[in-house]
């Protein structure tokens, strides 16, 4: 029974014929498509929707199981009947981001003008554009208000953007292991990834569809990414100096477990992810800056959401200090905010691993928000 209940599938929403999607750059996109999944039911009052936003490499499949697959969605431990994001109570929506490659319009999609994949002719998109695509989907689903918007890493950026862009729509926000603006270090790592892709001779200026994929470039980008997602401790604990063979040799084959792991991660990623999407998405993250050179305090002046801000002690990619600045700006505005720095050795990846702690925090926070909204 419960297994049936958790069977899900990704659906595609296509805007009506002729509708143009306005990007922040001023460019209008034709034929927007958004891949999404929903869990639970929208209540009559329309007060129980939770939008879950995904990080760089994920997709709309946040929870449950796809037919024939034993691997659940990426936040399955948090979303489901009786879980922290309780689908018996809440209506949960997760969609693939704009610019992605998991069903939503992106560089891999076919340009209706030319009948060929966009490649680099796909317009540069922003976190704000991703949010607007989600908003368009929600309109289609009949959702006018969000009980909560949440996400880790880049998902958290979208969540924060929601509260600033559409303050009247968002009752609460749970940004996790994220930032309000990309720092020099974060931009630097993204640039290494992009350069690895663009240096791959198979990249061909982004026109590789139907040909050999720039697999080695994308794999290197992913390897760099994975290093930033872990911590000194978690890497040391997981791999140490363990070898993949009996003893060290005198060549450049894979010898250490950590090398093997990174290569495996890189090679696996290439099978499911589009290199051009990696370029567009990392660029959108690097452009992300809610502060915009102004006063962070003023940016949150009109924000009406309550906040639960979660960071992880060993996350050096999105360090707690950054989000503490955000918390301070929220407090100065008199916004109801709860902040917790979870003690974890998992580094940035903790938002995909520390489920017990996140469950405790999220369930209590959501219950309170829900009772406030429905009293």
């Amino acid at each position: 029974m419960s297994e049936n209940k958790e069977m899900v599938s990704t659906k595609i929403f296509s805007v009506p014929e002729g509708e143009l999607f306005h990007l922040e750059s001023g460019i209008k996109l034709r034929g927007l498509e958004v891949a999404y999944e929903t869990y639970g039911e929208l209540n009559e009052e329309g007060t129980n929707t939770i939008l879950v936003c995904h990080a760089l490499s994920m997709d709309a499949h946040a929870a449950g199981y796809h037919a024939g697959s034993k691997k659940p969605g990426w936040w399955h431990e948090l979303i489901g009947p009786g879980k922290a994001i309780d689908t018996d109570r809440y209506f949960v929506v997760c969609s693939n981001i704009l610019g992605g490659c998991m069903g939503t319009s992106g560089p891999k999609s076919v340009d209706p003008e030319t009948g060929k994949p966009y490649g680099l002719s796909f317009p540069v998109i922003s976190i704000g554009d991703m949010v607007n695509a989600q908003k368009r989907l929600l309109k289609f689903l009949g959702v006018e208000r969000l009980l909560a918007v949440t996400g880790g890493s880049m998902g958290g950026m979208q969540a924060l953007e929601w509260t600033v862009k559409y303050p009247d729509m968002v009752a609460s926000c749970i940004p996790i292991a994220t930032t309000y603006k990309h720092s020099a270090q974060q931009i630097a790592f993204d640039e290494v990834g992009r350069q690895a892709i663009m240096a791959d001779p198979d990249w061909h200026g982004g026109n590789y569809y139907g040909k050999t994929l720039p697999a080695s470039g994308l794999a290197v980008a992913r390897m760099v990414g994975h290093i930033t997602y872990m911590s000194y401790k978690s890497m040391d604990k997981k791999f140490g100096r363990m070898l993949t063979k009996d003893k060290l040799g005198y060549g450049f084959t894979t010898e250490f477990e950590v090398e093997g792991y990174l290569r495996y991660r890189g090679d696996n990623f290439v099978k499911r992810f589009d290199a051009n999407s990696y370029l567009y998405i990392t660029k959108a993250m690097d452009h992300f800056d809610l502060q915009g050179g102004g006063d962070l305090f003023k940016i949150f002046r009109g924000v009406k959401s309550r906040f639960l801000v979660i960071t992880f002690s060993s996350d050096w990619l999105y360090p707690p200090e950054q989000l503490k600045e955000l918390v301070k700006a929220l407090k100065m505005n008199g916004i109801d905010v709860t902040y917790c720095e979870v003690n974890s050795d998992y580094g940035h990846d903790a938002f995909l691993l520390e489920f017990e702690v996140q469950s405790k925090l999220i369930s209590g926070f959501l219950a309170k928000t829900y009772s406030k909204l429905n009293r």
Binding site: L308, V337, T338, Y339, C340, V357, K360, G364
Partner: protein, 203 residues
């Protein structure tokens, strides 16, 4: 009854006294909010708009479970983020003696709060004095249940010490309640009270 249980029972009395001081619907900041028992009590009894500050991660989970808003951090750094007179009440209940620098903390609390409620154990309770005087040992009492090597308390003060402090710093004592083991102490509080609770403001 264990020392801890006695302490909890005693602190409940603290909570009642503090609750009487807080006005209904007030904006409250509870410094060192622990698992949020006092704050939850104030929300329930006085419908306050409350926030806590707490350093212990497990205690944060408990607060959030209770539907409370709480900031994970230490008291010394938790005050400066707020604008002037943002709160109607800032509460330091059984927490001020654990602050690294009480003077700046109290000044900050009086900047961001219209009123400050401070509850602390009276180090010069008769029981403590006798232990010091006759046993020659650092006192362990129901309100100061820790031994020297495991105490979280950094500062030890008496009710008189606090009154002197307020006079010197031009802080106005608006209300004060003194608690013994089973109730309010009216006579010679510096001798008989285990806890002092003060409501103070800037003069």
């Amino acid at each position: 009854m264990s020392k801890l249980e006695e302490r909890i029972k005693h602190l409940r009395l603290d909570h009642k006294v503090i609750c009487d001081m807080v006005t209904p619907g007030a904006k409250v900041l509870d410094m060192g909010s622990g698992e949020g028992d006092l704050l939850a009590y104030l929300v329930e009894q006085k419908d306050v708009d409350g926030t806590g500050v707490e350093i212990n991660e497990e205690a944060i989970y408990k607060c959030v479970e209770k539907g409370l808003s709480v900031f994970h951090g230490d008291i010394d750094s938790g005050l400066s983020d707020y604008p002037d007179k943002f709160f109607d009440f800032v509460i330091f209940n059984q927490a001020m003696q654990q602050v690294h620098k009480p003077l700046p903390a109290i000044k900050e609390a009086l900047r961001i709060g219209k009123k400050l409620i401070i509850g602390f154990p009276n180090f010069c309770n008769i029981n403590a004095r006798l232990q010091l005087c006759f046993l020659g040992r650092v006192p362990v009492t129901p309100s100061l249940p820790y031994t020297w090597y495991d105490t979280p308390n950094l500062h030890f003060l008496s009710i008189r010490d606090f009154q002197d402090f307020c006079r010197k710093q031009n802080i106005k004592i608006e209300k004060s309640v003194f608690l013994g083991e089973s109730g309010v102490v009216k006579m010679f509080p510096n001798l008989f009270a285990l806890n002092g609770i003060f409501q103070v403001s800037n003069e």
